[in-house]
Amino acid sequence: MDQTQDMQASDTPAGPGVAGQPVDVPAHGEGNLDLVGMLFVFMLATFIGIGVIRRVSRLLHTPLMSLTNAISAIAVVGAIIVSGGEEYPLVIRVMGAVALFASMTNIISGFMITDRMLRMFKEQRGRAGEGGGR
């Protein structure tokens, strides 16, 4: 019982320094507070993303897409929590494990193929013999 309560506390939105708080704090008020914080983060991250990505040369749009693909596999965080979380029933956990498999595949293949493509972009052809990456 105690354990589930702790779990819940760490699951509820906890600002800095309030993690592990007793559970009788109403979830609603806290949730609303953090909702605004999350919207802030979302908005700022979107602006940063637009600013940074607009500067990416068209040359690199395919590797850019495979890189952001790997980064969006950050869903792995949620998948690990569900797959490895102690309190979840089997069915739920299987869903988490499939999600973890899917996002981990994206992470591995995404970063690897991006690097593989980028290795090919050269300013000048390598002189005979030293043929660049190979």
Partner: protein, 482 residues
């Protein structure tokens, strides 16, 4: 537990959760740096390492969370992912568009599954967690996730040109009405679930929502033709990112929100670029069923192509001082990029300047041509964007159109009735001589006739792009050898 122990355990937990939050902060920073370094080919590889580092930090920090206790359940899926992950990273570069679509499908599936898992778990075990806001976020996550899943699978299948799927857009009367009604039903369901997550019917409504989302994906992508795939892939990229953002709102996790937002904005920008490059709106791409009706109407008069031999073409190429090559999907299909490099070498040996004119939507995904040509070790400084090359086209002696079609169709400039009217094109028709390499005499993917092929200065080289370019190289090579 004694009070002292409770306090101690709480402070330990506080410390651990601080460390995890801090790790997430570092991961976020690394992701932003990663995309920043991606801006320049010189620093781009550093960007990959930063991204991979950020991801490793995020995975380890999450694994270290106190509530993640079933380590085997984490370890096994990760181990299982290694082989398919490596396999998907080793595909030939011509298959990169379908690989990308497939990975969007995986991303969507993960988001949809985690959202559904959380919903059903909370419903049965911690109903108080299902606030209206959080449930709403779950609805968005599941909708976007499963829609991206099936939509991307169809997109990948179309790009792979599998036999069981028609390549032409799949349309029927009233399709948009059906789609809109289905979407309306899903939206109403979503609002109802968010407002009454504890109602007895909520799990059924949620199941119906999953079913509808899975169906949306293919319903949206089936009517879209191959030429629009770059835009569709970019939009699906944005969806996958937004699904991760929604997951962040569900799990109160700022790392998910930032990383998802970075991905979402990337997809958004790429789709805007693609739409601009085709002079079309999002709405038009998604609901337009491009090129379906027009293809039938345009089949009026029959004009004749002027075919030429590779020998003649090689002779004319040898006399040129500026050659512009316009690659398109045909080059990718034929895997002709290495032969093209040989041609590039032969021409350069004769002191001829060779440039590649890259249209933003050439190929099947953003930047597709650049990657293929880079694979053939053509320096990226010779890959020129459309706007830049167009100012030089009047000085171009020979323009070699290599499996490109709509992106060089002058109808886009002049014919207000053409479905591609207004689309920015590469001005191949301004070159002194044009050689167009074409697989067959049929019109391109959009099903539109190309006036460029019937101009007095245009000569056709029919055949597989790889074979034709190989012939050109053969005819150019002996003279330079001796």
């Amino acid at each position: 537990m004694t009070p002292a122990l409770v306090v101690a355990s709480m402070s330990f937990q506080g410390l651990a959760s601080h460390a995890i939050e801090l790790a997430y902060l570092i991961a976020t920073g690394l992701f932003v740096l990663s995309l920043h370094w991606m801006g320049d080919p010189k620093t781009a590889r550093r960007g990959v390492y930063a991204g991979a580092g950020g991801m490793a930090v995020a995975v380890l920090a999450t694994w270290a969370r106190p509530e993640v206790a079933k380590h085997l359940w984490v370890l096994l899926p990760i181990l299982a992912a290694i082989v398919p992950g490596i396999w998907l990273a080793k595909v030939p570069l011509t298959a990169v568009p379908q690989r990308t679509a497939l990975s969007h499908a995986f991303g969507g599936l993960a988001a949809g599954l985690v959202g559904s898992a959380k919903f059903f778990y909370w419903l049965h075990h911690q109903p108080e967690m299902l606030t209206a806001f959080r449930t709403g976020a779950i609805v968005v996550e599941v909708l976007l996730g499963f829609l991206t899943f099936t939509g991307s699978i169809i997109a990948a299948a179309k790009l792979q040109e599998v036999k069981w799927l028609p390549q032409r857009p799949w349309v029927y009367k009233g399709q948009n009405v059906v789609n809109l009604i289905a979407f309306g039903v899903a939206a109403v369901l979503g609002v109802l679930i968010a407002c009454f997550p504890h109602a007895a019917w909520a799990p059924w409504a949620f199941g119906a929502l999953i079913f509808l989302s899975l169906n949306f994906g293919w319903m949206l992508v089936m009517p879209i033709g191959g030429a629009d795939m770059p835009t569709v892939i970019a939009i699906l990229n944005a969806y996958a990112g937004l699904a991760a953002v929604a997951m962040g709102f569900v799990l109160d996790n700022k790392l998910l929100i930032t990383a998802g937002a970075l991905d979402g904005s990337s997809g958004l920008i790429l789709s805007i670029i693609m739409c601009k490059a085709m002079n079309r709106s999002f709405f038009n791409v998604l609901f337009g069923a491009f090129g379906q009706v027009q293809a039938k109407a345009a089949g009026g008069e029959q004009k004749d192509y002027k075919p030429d031999t590779a020998e003649n073409a090689a002779a004319i190429l040898a006399e040129a001082s500026l050659v512009v090559i316009v690659p398109g999907y045909g080059m990718a299909v034929a895997q002709a990029q290495h032969k093209v490099r040989e041609l590039y070498d032969q021409l350069r040996k004769r002191g001829i300047t060779v440039k590649f004119a890259i249209h933003p939507v050439a190929g099947r995904m953003p930047g597709h041509m650049n990657v293929l040509l880079a694979e053939a070790e053509i320096p990226y400084t010779d890959l020129v964007e459309m706007d830049e090359i167009n100012t030089d086209m009047s000085q171009c002696d020979v323009c070699l159109v290599l499996g490109a079609n709509d992106v060089v169709n002058p109808a886009a400039r002049s014919d207000t009735k053409s479905p591609i009217f207004g689309m920015p094109i590469i001005d191949a028709d301004k070159a002194r001589t044009v050689f167009a390499v074409k697989r067959s005499k049929s019109p391109g993917f959009a099903g539109i006739d190309n006036e460029l092929y019937f101009l007095d200065k245009t000569w056709m080289l029919f055949g597989d792009a790889k074979a034709v370019v190989g012939d050109l190289v053969k005819h150019l090579a002996p003279q330079s050898g001796h």
